[in-house]
């Protein structure tokens, strides 16, 4: 163990004693990291953004609809679906009922829907909690109804009235709710039914299996009236985008790493070629061939680690400047690790040349 530690320290001292070679190696590795991060790093950022937008568009959503109002989907389906593996959240909505703002003539109608299940984070509510007979109003519905503030009352055609106790803002895939009001289920309602159920799954690939499983859980009175919309097409597009960008990024990273590997290898080879007496002396002092390989490789890895740290800092700064967001941590760590690994691999052939060179021929004085 002490010998191993001694050899590692010796390798670092060896690197420090050759500042030009070490600096060149460090600069090459720093350049590799910076170039990868500032090129492929941007591609990765772009991929994340494109995929994010596709995901926003609903690649992970499944919508169950009672197509003609006679399917007879009961609220219990929401709880059953929420227990499925891969389901992030599920929320059901009752039939829409038109309401007008009470006491505001000329206002347009908006729809009230009863909510079954817990509102997901995509619906941001403010004001009081919904209870029976109260509603939250969406921003578009508030404008349609002519409500100056999210308070007051709304009345349905059948005379049922609701107190507006707050508002909400919904984003996709529930953005459509902004045009309506949402209400807590009426506890006195007899045999309530759902008109739609919205489900968000964890991953796009969960869409198909969850959609298949839903049919059995709905327990609808008329299954032929149930329609299920999935986003499998979007999921396919997502997969294609991810694959295409991934392929491009991998190709670019491979090329940059290969160029860096060759440059580091040439630099190390040049160094060991001009330090033949140094390695001959080390062999005479008791260094084995494995020790020589270890010394050269460890020295390169130590210098490459410093270069990788500098390179990722520079590349990260470039990305931040260009995109306004910091580079992905996992991607940055992977780039640094790959660069150091490439430098270590590049050092092995010249290290072997140094280790197998005849020490006597360089030690003898003519």
């Amino acid at each position: 163990m002490r010998r191993l530690v001694g050899l590692m320290v010796e390798a670092i001292r060896m690197g420090a004693a050759r500042p030009v070679s070490s600096t060149v190696t460090g600069l090459i590795v720093a350049g590799v990291c910076a170039v990868i991060l500032s090129t492929t790093g941007q591609s990765v950022q772009a991929e994340r953004q494109v995929l994010g937008r596709i995901d926003e568009a609903g690649t992970r959503s499944v919508i169950v609809t009672d197509t003609n109002g006679s399917a007879g989907i009961r609220p219990g389906a929401v709880d059953r679906i929420s227990r499925l593996s891969g389901v992030e959240w599920v929320v059901g909505f009752g039939p829409a009922t038109d309401v007008h703002a009470a006491g505001i003539p000329g206002g347009k109608p908006a729809a009230v829907r009863a909510v079954y299940g817990t509102l997901p984070p995509e619906v941001d509510t403010s004001g009081r909690d919904m209870t029976a007979g109260t509603v939250l109003v969406g921003p578009d519905a508030q404008a349609s109804l002519g409500l100056a503030v999210s308070a007051g009352g709304v009345v349905a055609k059948d005379g049922t009235d609701y107190a507006v106790v707050g508002r909400f803002d919904a984003v996709d895939p529930l953005g459509f709710l902004n045009r309506s009001l949402i209400a807590a289920p009426n506890p006195d309602a007899v045999d309530p039914v759902l008109r739609t159920i919205h489900i968000l799954v964890d991953r796009p690939e969960d869409v198909a299996p969850v959609a298949d499983a839903i049919y059995g859980l709905l327990d609808a009175e008329d299954p032929t009236s149930v329609g299920i919309q999935t986003s499998e097409t979007l999921a396919e597009i997502r997969k294609a985008v991810q694959g295409e960008l991934g392929r491009y990024s991998r190709r670019l990273v491979t090329v940059i790493l290969a160029v860096g590997l060759v440059l580091v290898g040439l630099n190390i080879y040049g160094t060991v070629s001009t330090a033949r007496r140094d390695f001959g002396r080390r062999r005479a002092l008791g260094a084995s061939r494995a020790d020589i390989i270890g010394l050269v490789t460890t020295q390169t890895v130590a210098v490459a680690a410093i270069g990788a740290a500098a390179g990722t800092a520079i590349g990260g700064a470039i990305i931040w400047r260009l995109t306004g967001t910091p580079p992905d941590t996992a991607f940055t760590a992977a780039v640094a690790t790959l660069s150091i690994l490439a430098a270590a691999i590049a050092a092995i052939p010249p290290a072997m040349v140094a280790a197998w060179r005849d020490p006597v021929s360089v030690l003898r004085v003519p």
Binding site: R2, R3, G6, L7, V9, E10, R13, A17, R18, R277, D278, G280, R281, R282, R283, A284, L285, G286, A287, S288, R289, A290, D291, P359, V360, L363, R364, V365
Partner: protein, 211 residues
């Protein structure tokens, strides 16, 4: 430690044999000189005994044990822990300090750096290069550099010292210091083998092997 070579055959090229069935014994506690004309194989014999070269045939025995067929790692370990080399031109690393040069061999022998530095400083005082420990080899004289090389060879307390023309580049006074140091090591029981064509060096040896 007695070093013996038996039936040694070796050459750098197949058509140029330097040793053909060569035998010699180098007892412990004795300064053995190896002498001969240029190209006779003086240095080559040292490198064979120091396990830097592998003979075509024959045996190299350390204390009766054949070590010529060992693996590179085992030979290197033996060299690091039991053999000390002194070269004609000192062969110091010009980019490292005198002290770093002295303790370099300790790394391969697995000796702790602290202990190696303690030994190196004691040796440096003894060979009067103690004030030069922080200097680079290029900042010391040839005689001082050779004494530094001697200190480096002694840091691991070797049982065998192989000196290849150790006084070749030195003035008479410094050469005497180096030879006295090697003789002193032999008196302590170390096997000292000196390859030299210098008559004064050969005269200081207890035994001489002619090539």
């Amino acid at each position: 430690m007695t070093v013996a070579v038996e039936g040694l055959s070796f050459g750098y090229r197949r058509d140029d044999t330097i040793f053909d069935g060569f035998d010699a014994t180098f007892p412990a506690g004795v300064v053995s000189g190896v002498t001969g004309r240029s190209g006779s194989g003086k240095s080559t014999l040292l490198y064979l005994v120091g396990l830097l070269l592998t003979p075509w045939s024959g045996r190299i025995r350390f204390e009766g044990v054949d070590v010529s067929g060992l693996s590179d790692a085992a030979r290197s370990q033996l060299r690091a822990s039991r053999v000390g080399f002194v070269f004609q031109d000192a062969a110091l690393d010009p980019s490292r300090s005198v002290l770093d040069n002295m303790v370099e061999g300790a790394v391969y022998a697995g000796l702790g750096r602290g202990e190696a530095i303690r030994r190196a400083k004691a040796l440096a005082e003894r060979f009067e290069v103690g004030l030069r420990l922080g200097h680079k080899p290029g900042e010391v004289s040839g005689g001082q550099a050779q004494r530094v090389a001697l200190c480096r060879a002694l840091v691991n307390t070797p049982e065998v010292i192989l000196a290849d023309e150790p006084t070749g580049n030195l003035d008479d006074a410094t050469a005497a210091v180096v030879i006295d140091a090697l003789v002193e090591q032999a008196r302590r029981g170390v096997t000292v083998i000196i390859a030299s064509h210098d008559h004064e060096v050969v005269a200081a040896c207890d035994e001489v092997v002619g090539l």
